[in-house]
Symmetry: C2
Subunit: 393 residues, 2 copies
């Protein structure tokens, strides 16, 4: 038996384990100091009431002969797909129900979608980046070209006509940088993809943080995108579903390559290797899109955004360059005094007991940068920013 040799090329990421090790050591040596974690990439506020009620009521149904549901459609129940269809209609994007696939999260689908593509393709990935894009392609031995995101392009790299790519990863609002593409920038990407017969894999997991309606929150707001893009979205950050698991992937009918429909291929992949999201979770997800649900989740999103704003204000006051913090829960800042990422990590931990994430952990171009997140309480974020303000003054 031969293993998939490509796994040997995967590097082990020590980013979060190294952070944990350093923080634990600090706490052991300084038990009296209060450490504030602004490195969290996970939501912290509970599921909203509408979701809780919907899940519990669906669970009760599952305990009755009349209400019990066994295997559901692998691509999701219509009651949820219809809500997502309406959600997109409000963005002026018209979708057919069969273009919507309910998933157990963007991470799964972003990895599994690669099943549809030849391993001969060349992949374009921005750097710094969410490591999953890189690792899933290494597992299948695709040629990867990294796209430089830096201060010069405000961490929003644009197409390079001299590069020929087949698959393009874009994430906007971006993880880890919080940067958001505007409409004209995304138009250029769509034009590039159409010209190169490429497919854009658009990760919109943070779209709910966009509050400026001029900024696209779906790639399909761009003309022509339905012929060159797949969109991955999630309720993880939108509605606190990181531990409840539900997302959706849009594969337009217009995506036809080599006489094959990517929509039909994805349906075949999912019906063969997936059995759908739990019925009770789909009912919870449906409640997110109700009027009451939307009001409740927006309160949570606004809460996180106020934290992001607190962080942004402190950085502005000290003239520190950063991206994100407005339409994103993430703030990506240039380390002061040209410190390196890990140097700044230690500096913050030792002096003011704030934990963030060293940018170098997200790729070569992350060196010298640092990620803070808004997923803590308002009180802790305030306290952390007071400490930071004092430190930098």
């Amino acid at each position: 038996m031969k293993i998939n040799e490509n796994y040997k090329k995967l590097e082990v990421s020590y980013l979060f384990s190294t952070i944990a090790k350093k923080v634990n050591e600090f706490i052991r040596n300084n038990p009296d100091k209060k450490v504030i974690r602004l490195g969290i990439g996970d939501v912290t506020r509970p599921l909203c009431k509408s979701v809780i009620e919907a899940i519990k009521s669906a669970t009760d149904e599952m305990g009755t002969f009349e209400g019990f549901r066994g295997y559901g459609p692998e691509q999701g129940y219509d009651f949820l797909k219809e809500e997502i269809q309406k959600y997109y209609a409000r963005k002026n994007v018209s979708l057919d129900l069969d273009e919507i696939f309910i998933s157990d999260g963007a991470k799964s689908d972003l990895g599994n979608i690669l099943d549809l593509f030849s391993t001969d393709n060349t992949v374009l990935i921005p750097d710094p980046v969410y490591p999953v894009y890189v690792d899933t392609n290494l597992m299948q031995n695709r040629n990867i070209i990294f796209l430089k995101a830096d201060q010069q392009n405000d961490f929003l790299p644009m197409p390079d006509e001299s590069i020929k790519a087949d698959l393009i990863y874009l994430c906007s609002p971006n993880n880890p940088t919080g940067a958001v593409y505007n409409k004209s920038q995304l138009e250029k990407w769509v034009q590039y993809a159409l010209k190169n017969n490429a497919v854009i894999l658009f990760d919109s997991a943070y779209e709910c943080f966009i509050s400026d309606s001029n900024l696209p929150s779906s790639i399909f707001e761009i003309e022509g995108a339905k012929s060159c893009a797949i969109e991955f979205c999630s309720l993880s950050k939108t509605a606190g579903f990181t531990g409840t698991r539900c997302g959706y992937t849009i594969v337009p009918f217009e995506l036809n390559f080599d006489n094959m429909s990517l929509n039909k291929m994805w349906l075949r992949r999912q019906t063969t290797k997936f059995n759908g999201v739990p019925y009770i979770v789909q009912r919870g997800a449906q409640a997110v899109f109700s009027e009451k649900g939307q009001k409740e989740i927006k309160e949570n999103i606004e809460y996180y955004k106020r934290n992001a704003s607190l962080i942004s204000q402190t950085l502005k006051k000290h003239n520190i360059y950063f991206t994100g913090g407005i339409h994103s829960p993430y703030i990506w800042l240039k380390c002061p005094n040209n410190m390196k990422s890990w140097e700044f990590f230690d500096y913050l931990l030792q002096n003011i007991q704030i934990v963030g994430t060293p940018g170098a952990g997200f790729g070569q171009n992350g060196e010298g940068f640092f990620r803070l997140t808004s997923f803590n309480t308002c009180e802790n974020t305030k306290e952390a920013m007071e400490r930071l303000d004092n430190l930098l003054t």
Copy 2:
């Protein structure tokens, strides 16, 4: 962009859509006749009380600041893995917690596990078979050798020393045939795998139907299996989780090939392309293994088994050859009078309005056979068997 060309080789299965079409047409033409469906491959009885309570209580937790859980471990929470560890201990199989991976179902893992293996491998698949084994390998262009299961070997094919295979699919109790390997038969498979440096992918999704403790309900009851087998199990049939989605996969530490640990590779695959099973579902699954939960699910399993027994008795009375029906919800019978599978389907539908599944739909060797299942009510199953008894008399 080049697509994965292998998708062109996948055949569309018209099995269940053809059945639906024929049944709907019959009902349209005979609105007064009561059709009884014994072709269902899905459970019909509701989730048991312990599971309902556990899910609802976990859902309440998720609505509080203290109880909320975001991202969990991709491989599952220890509270559930510990229950599975104890469940295996009762079979005298000792497992480390890190050998247990919680999944959203056996189907997902049976497909996704192939990520770990070279596409150069040769795969051995019994025929008749659950089509997922075939399609997932076609998608990656592996060489497939079919293993003949037939009346001569009681649908329990044994190793052929002249064949060199790298990956071997075994499903016991079998879907669709209901046949169960005994210990000495599985020992021969383990010996074959060890000798050929092969890996057995053991699908034990129906293990809960085994009531004879002499029959192995895990491949790991066989000595040496930990060095050559991965086991896939599910709560779908065990506890009615087909629409709730939870299973588990056992990847022993002893599986080392080419200096790589399959356990570590699977962990890497899952942490990269999966984000775990919903917390609330894992709490429901935990309740399945409680004393009360075990009692409740066993009542359901016994209910299905009584139906299976009703079917078996009728077939025995008429000297019809069949497998399954004892340690399985499935009964796989030889069509009387040498009828072909679809011929017998029409014969039953037209004469006594019973719907089953033509064996030919599960592979070449299924021709002339027919699958009945026990997933209907006791009353309907009784009525169906009275009709069948009359028809055959």
